[in-house]
């Protein structure tokens, strides 16, 4: 019983991190129909920001998180203007953006790899190797902090989307781009800002990930499939769906990992993806599939 509780707690804290990693992705897809395959490499960019701030200036990765987020916000603004803004009118827009973000992922992967080499790195704040012990329960602090901060950030994101003027505009654009534009929403500006917010979330997630997982540039390919399976499971572009999917899958993965070995815990995500495609292609919370 306490075994199960232990695994459950690990699954939930990890689920929070995954939810944060995937939330930017789902936000960007929801508003702009961009499947950002470069999202995981952006998370790794954020992780490098935290890594270097920690190793050069001893800045705690949690304090480095806003820095990483702001830095990546800027990257997002520039990238959107350079690459995606002019594609918005393209007929095969969604397909096109997948290829474009794939190319961006290759560029960033190669760039980071050339700059920092593909050695495994991890930031090591004092709490990274610590653990809280309550009775039989053993909770690694790194994972606990990352999970809690992630959950707090997602909460802030939900509040922002639900209760601010800009949040209304973003949600309106998600629901119906044309109608939002007709009602006076500056759709182009909202797209730009949402993209940058999504990338900033990747940066923030990266700072947290930097002390939870070891990372190197080429690792993002693995994360693409993991994060995408969360997004597909929840229904593309549905934030709530993604969050529920992240918690559900990481809890299942934690159980699979404990009883069948770590290799199989990663595969859980991909098998879940195939099951969803097989049984309910639109995902748990998704609308019926559009033919585009």
């Amino acid at each position: 019983m306490s075994d199960a509780l232990q695994i459950l707690i690990l699954g939930i804290t990890l689920g929070g991190v995954y939810a944060l990693m995937a939330s930017g992705l789902t936000l960007i897809f929801g508003v702009m129909r961009i499947v950002n395959l470069a999202h995981p490499i952006m998370i790794i960019c954020g992780a490098y920001v935290a890594y270097w701030l920690f190793n050069l200036y001893r800045v705690d990765p949690i304090l480095a998180m806003p820095v990483a987020a702001v830095f990546m916000f800027g990257v997002g603004l520039v990238l959107y203007q350079l690459v995606f803004a002019k594609e918005a009118a393209s007929a095969k827009y969604s397909e096109m953006t997948v290829l474009l973000t794939f190319a961006v992922a290759l560029v960033l992967d190669g760039f980071l790899g050339a700059l920092f080499s593909n050695t495994q790195r991890v930031t090591t704040p004092p709490y990274a190797t610590d653990a809280i012990v309550i009775g039989d329960l053993f909770i690694p602090t790194a994972q606990l902090y990352a999970g809690l901060i992630s959950i707090a950030l997602i909460g802030a994101l939900v509040v922002f989307l639900q209760f601010t003027r800009m949040g209304y505009a973003i949600r309106a654009t998600t629901q119906n781009r044309t109608a939002a534009a007709l009602l006076g929403v500056n759709v182009g500006f909202i797209s730009l800002v949402t993209f940058a917010i999504g990338v900033a979330l990747a940066g923030a997630a990266g700072a947290l990930v930097s002390f939870v997982f070891s990372f190197f540039p080429a690792k993002h390919w693995e994360w693409i499939a993991v994060l995408m399976s969360l997004v597909v499971l929840g229904g593309m572009g549905k934030l709530m769906g993604t969050i529920v999917g992240a918690f559900a899958l990481s809890i299942v993965a934690a159980f699979v990992g404990t009883y069948a070995g770590a290799t199989w815990s990663t595969i859980t995500f991909f098998l879940a993806l195939f099951l969803v495609l097989l049984i309910r292609p639109q995902g748990l919370f998704g609308d019926p599939i559009e033919s585009a």
Binding site: V98, G110, F274, L277
Partner: protein, 351 residues
């Protein structure tokens, strides 16, 4: 008065339309091709088939190697084009079939000693069956979801092969070295790859000019309309996926024996799939000759890049930059752009 005016304008319109149509017909007639340039194609083939004669003049193993490598990518890019170009389903995990072909024939070679040159068609068939089964699941969704599922497929394959001890795990499989003298060692694989490339191009050409290919192109535009026009879209796209997997699997089988080792981190890395996609985009997605042009250009570029900057992460960076620029400025690719401008040379026009 009003009606008269309108009918006069109508007559004028009709005359204008007739004139425009005549002009259009004339333009079409003037640009119409007199058949295909079969002479060029056969000439190319003869030159390539005679390439190993260079070995009598000295050691040209490097040339043969590059040619062989190019044949392989031509075969794979052409095969990818059947799914990604004609059908419009972008697969970013297509090298799964490359791996399956390589491992299937590699295992037979390692255990029974039968050359992959003999078992390659069987490896292709295994890949095709696998492609058919996977296609039944993943081709249910279009667009982004399909692309994601193709990446997930590659990741699953990578994890499975990395941990499957029977086929050597992440160390992979070693197959016996060729016993031929070094100057002729590349020959069987050279011709095998040439044959696979030719078959793949031929299949791509035949499909493009068949009812099947027309159906594929119709469903790439609008699946619902294609279905209501009487096309069995589900069967069509899964069949296209299986055919594509067949050629990629064959190429994998021969490449495995040629390399003499078959490893997940050679066969199952996303860069191989990225290359196939990029070659098709660069040359022109959905055209017969596009993948060939793209493969030759990209391999030449990569070779120069490696020669000047060394094989490093910069290579990935370069691939990404080319892909980004090609997508942003030449989304139709070289062949596609030239064809749209009506300046496509005849020897490249097989569409």
């Amino acid at each position: 008065m009003k009606t008269a005016g309108r009918s006069a304008a109508g007559a004028g319109d009709v005359a204008a339309v007739v004139a425009a149509r005549r002009e259009m017909n004339q333009r079409l007639a003037s640009t119409r091709r007199e058949g295909r340039s079969w002479g060029f194609a056969i000439g190319c083939l003869l030159v390539l088939a005679a390439l190993p004669l260079l070995q009598f003049a000295g050691n040209f193993n490097y040339v043969l190697h590059m040619a062989l490598y190019t044949f392989m990518y031509i075969a794979m890019a052409s095969a990818w084009n059947i799914v990604g170009g004609y059908t419009g389903y972008i697969s970013l995990g297509h090298n799964v079939f490359f791996g399956i072909g390589g491992y299937f024939s590699g295992m037979i070679l390692a255990s029974a000693g039968i050359s992959t040159l003999i078992t390659a068609p069987a490896a292709g068939a295994v890949a095709a069956v696998f492609g058919f089964l996977v296609g039944l699941v993943t081709l249910r969704v279009r667009g982004p979801s399909f692309i994601i599922s193709s990446i997930a497929l590659l990741m699953i394959a990578r994890i499975l092969f990395d941990n499957w001890d029977y086929v050597g795990g992440s160390n992979g499989l070693s197959v016996p070295l060729s016993t031929l003298p070094v100057e002729w060692a590349k020959l069987p694989y050279f011709y095998a790859m040439l044959v696979i490339a030719v078959l793949s191009i031929a299949a791509s050409y035949r499909i493009k000019h068949s009812k099947f290919g027309l159906g594929l192109r119709a469903l790439s535009q609008d699946e619902v309309k294609a279905e209501s026009a009487g096309i069995n879209t589900k069967l069509y796209k899964v069949a296209a996926f299986a055919i594509s997997a067949f050629f990629v699997g064959m190429a994998g089988a021969v490449w495995g024996e040629y390399l003499t080792y078959i490893r997940p981190n050679i066969f199952l890395i996303i860069l191989v799939a990225a290359n196939m996609v990029l070659m098709c985009i660069l040359g022109g997605k959905g055209t017969v000759t596009g993948p060939i042009v793209g493969a030759i250009l990209l391999i030449a570029f990569n070779e120069f890049f490696v020669a000047y900057f060394g094989a490093s992460e910069l290579n990935i960076l370069g691939t990404g930059v080319i892909m980004l620029l090609a997508l942003m400025f030449f989304p139709l690719g070289i062949v596609g752009t030239l064809a749209r401008q009506g300046r496509l040379p005849r020897f490249l026009d097989w569409d």
